[in-house]
Amino acid sequence: MMALRDPDIRLMLRVRADDRAAFAELVERYQHRLVAVLAHLIGHKDEAEDLAQEVFLRVYRTRLKYTPKAKFSTWLFTIANNLALNAIRDRHRRKTIPLEVRESGPQGPRTADAFTADRTAPPAHQLQQQELADVIKRAMADLNERQRVAVVLNKFEDMNYADIADVMGLSTKAVKSLLSRARGKLREALQPYIYMDTEPPPHTADEDDGDE
């Protein structure tokens, strides 16, 4: 049985039986991963923390629906995904807090047009790490929500396609195509920055072959 192997499932079964110490342990154990993932998804750490709390409360509220069939983390991130997408949609509706990007100012996420300027001017080698992080954040912010979810789970949770598919309620095939698009976009946005620290390979300037 999976339940016997996986300590998280055992923990969750205790939560299901109203063991609050087990719930505290679960929160303790998963908060770092969850906050990190949510921060990547919604781009704002404090909001991510709020949302992570909601996720844990939802876990508690729906504990009786949990069955030890799936990995606990899959279940957790399914809930997180739903709440994060709702939050993002709410935010679009309310138009309050922009993704936290340093240069973006109060107007919210910068547009792709503005980004083009950066891209056409080759990045200087002395680009600071913070600036690089901002460029990457922007690239992430420019993905659509579902692409971002897939990338974050794949990259930071090291989740395989099948698990991502479970979390997102998609087929594995759909996840494959989603990730492919997302990574295509990321490559497009970030390619100028990948050889920052090392010598660029000979063909960089004309890297995109006729395939696209």
Binding site: R20, F23, A24, V27, E28, Q31, H32, V35, A36, A39, H40, H44, K45, D46, E47, A48, E49, D50, A52, Q53, E54, F56, L57, Y60, R61, T96, Q129, L132, A133, I136, K137, M140, V151, N154, K155, F156, N160, Y161, K176, S177, L179, S180, R181, R183, G184, L186, R187, A189, L190, Q191, Y193, I194, Y195, P201, H203, E207, D209, D211, E212
Partner: protein, 556 residues
């Protein structure tokens, strides 16, 4: 063979990416590998995908705040209690675990006492020394027996200077119950604290006496005066003051040591009030999430101010839920002498017995003698046991809340309907001719037979028998004024009808001629008007029952 490196129709490298992610099966992977070996551009592209993905590692990886677990668990409590305040409210004042958990009065007492004693040790010099009028070595004589009762309430008075201070605290509304309830008229009626604390154990009483004796005489006198003034205050004022007193001392009890010290060591009562306000404000702010705190700092933009107002409301909802919990705990721990509504009201308590008899067919004397049978009342044998045991727990051990909850549960499960002035239909012999054809054949008669003798269960069961409603059938119960028994006619005439608006009266008139629709409409209207229907619904205002015994009713 398809070239695996060629992009899919819409220009994406699904297979290459899946290969990099280790998601391809052997055959497909071999094809990608072959292509990579053959084509340097393909290698470059794969490298670019890999590298750009690696860049994501530069993204900051935020760590949750160290208080994350605590904050989450604090927000969990309303969830556990099924309250409404869970969704978004943060908790202004976290109840200590002992207040929230399955605390019995035996456990809370030592806790309250512990800090009372601790505070005095810690503040031996600072706190209230300005009141000292003679050296502390000169002690008052042992307290008289009459003073013991006052000393037993000492945990309530520890943070209070005098009546004037208490009144100001009450005026400040920081500990005002009205913030926690929907109806300002009744908010403060929740706490009836003539005898607010449970009897301490002998050992604890001894400690309290020692504590009291250790006070400077002027402070002793101050407490005595406060206690006496409270005792003779006008009931309404006393109600409000003792409520504030209780909430304030519980709040104080839950504060971190340093905050409590800040309040208790203030040199004047005025400074103490300031300190209370500051600590209160600080705790509220600290209880907000970092995001909320940030918003609070920039309230110049209207939208944000609205957000803030919203958060404020959520905070109050959360606080309300907390107080309900705290007060239930409190009332559970305060023993036999203190009963919650409606048991605090002798008249209502007697009416409950009447209600049990007329609405549920429960004879209390029989119930207690274990002679009550399901056949002679409307309850199942399980419910009979439930009622008896919760009544016993209430009268013998002070668990009035569980008794109240049990009554509400039974009332919900077995709603009564007003009786007709003529004979009520409760057995086969009384079934009107046009209904006889709906009496099921012997084999299926069980449910109907089981309800034989019960009003309105028998008639309701029969009413369910036809496949669809048929207006030509004679009604099985009263359907308009003039057809009800005396009690209900009187209730309609004196209480219900005068309270109804024209629209509501219309609603009632429209149901005329139909049973049980007319009765049900009348009862629904009574409920809307917060009226108790004698012999039909629980005695006392329905909203009060909800307020005390049904958590969901608190939510809006």
């Amino acid at each position: 063979m398809a070239n695996p490196m060629r992009a899919t129709d819409d220009g994406h490298d699904d297979d290459l990416i899946a290969y990099l992610d280790g998601e391809l099966d052997e055959d497909a992977a071999a094809m990608v590998e072959a292509e990579l070996a053959r084509n340097p551009r393909a290698r470059e592209k794969a490298e670019a995908y890999r590298k750009t993905y690696e860049l994501l590692d530069y993204l900051p990886k935020p760590e949750p705040d160290p208080s994350f677990t605590t904050r989450t668990l604090t927000r969990l409590q309303p969830v556990i209690d099924g309250s409404a305040a869970t969704a978004s409210g943060s908790q202004p004042i976290a109840l200590s675990a002992s207040m929230l958990g399955a605390t019995t009065r035996r456990r809370v007492w030592p806790e309250l006492l512990a800090w009372v004693a601790g505070v005095l040790v810690a503040l031996g010099i600072g706190y209230l020394t300005h009141l000292t009028t003679r050296p502390a070595t000169q002690r008052e004589p042992e307290p008289t027996a009459a003073e013991i009762a006052m000393i037993e309430s000492l945990p309530l008075y520890v943070g209070v200077d005098d009546l004037d201070f208490l009144k100001k605290l009450d005026d400040s509304e920081l500990f005002d119950d009205r913030f926690h309830y929907d109806d300002p008229q009744v908010g403060n009626q929740r706490i009836d604290l003539n005898k607010p604390l449970d009897q301490p154990t002998d050992a604890n009483r001894k400690k309290l006496i020692e504590l009291f004796i250790s006070y400077p005489p002027a402070r002793q006198q101050q407490i005595r005066t406060l206690h006496n003034q409270l005792a003779v205050a006008e009931p309404a004022i006393r109600q409000s003051l003792t409520g504030t007193l209780l909430r304030y001392s519980l709040w104080l009890d839950r504060l971190p040591e340093s905050d409590r010290k800040e309040i208790l060591s203030a040199s004047t009562s005025h400074a103490r009030l300031d300190a209370i306000e500051q600590v209160h404000e600080r705790h509220w702010r600290a209880s907000l999430t970092p995001a909320q705190q940030e918003k609070l700092k920039k309230t110049t933009i209207i939208e944000e101010r609205q957000d803030l107002a919203q958060e404020f409301r959520e905070r109050q909802r959360a606080a309300r839920a907390e107080w309900i919990l705290a007060q239930r705990q409190w009332q559970q721990m305060t023993g036999l002498d203190h009963k919650p509504w409606p048991f605090s009201d002798d008249a209502l308590t007697q009416q409950i017995e009447g209600y049990l008899k007329t609405a549920l067919g429960v004879d209390m004397a029989k119930l207690m003698k274990k002679e009550l049978q399901p056949a002679s009342c409307r309850l199942t044998s399980e419910e009979i046991r439930d009622l008896r045991s919760s009544y016993e727990a209430a009268t013998k051990e002070g668990y009035w809340f569980s008794y109240g909850a049990c009554l509400l549960r039974l009332a919900d499960r077995h709603p009564a309907l007003p009786r007709p002035s003529r004979e009520a239909i409760v057995r086969f012999a009384q079934v009107p001719d046009d209904w006889k054809r709906f009496i099921p054949k012997e084999a299926k008669k069980g449910r109907l037979e089981g309800n034989s003798g019960r009003w309105p269960d028998f008639a309701l069961e029969l009413h369910r028998a036809p496949l669809k409603a048929d207006n030509r059938l004679s009604p099985l119960g009263p359907t308009k004024p003039g057809e009800f028994d005396e009690g209900f006619e009187k209730f309609m005439k004196d209480k219900l009808l005068p309270a109804l608006s024209d629209d509501q009266k219309k609603r009632l008139t429209q149901a005329e001629g139909k049973w049980p629709a007319y009765s049900q409409e009348a009862l629904a209207l009574a409920r809307e008007k917060n009226l108790s229907v004698p012999g039909i619904t629980l005695p006392g205002a329905p909203k009060e029952w909800d307020r005390y015994y049904r958590l969901q009713a608190v939510k809006k």
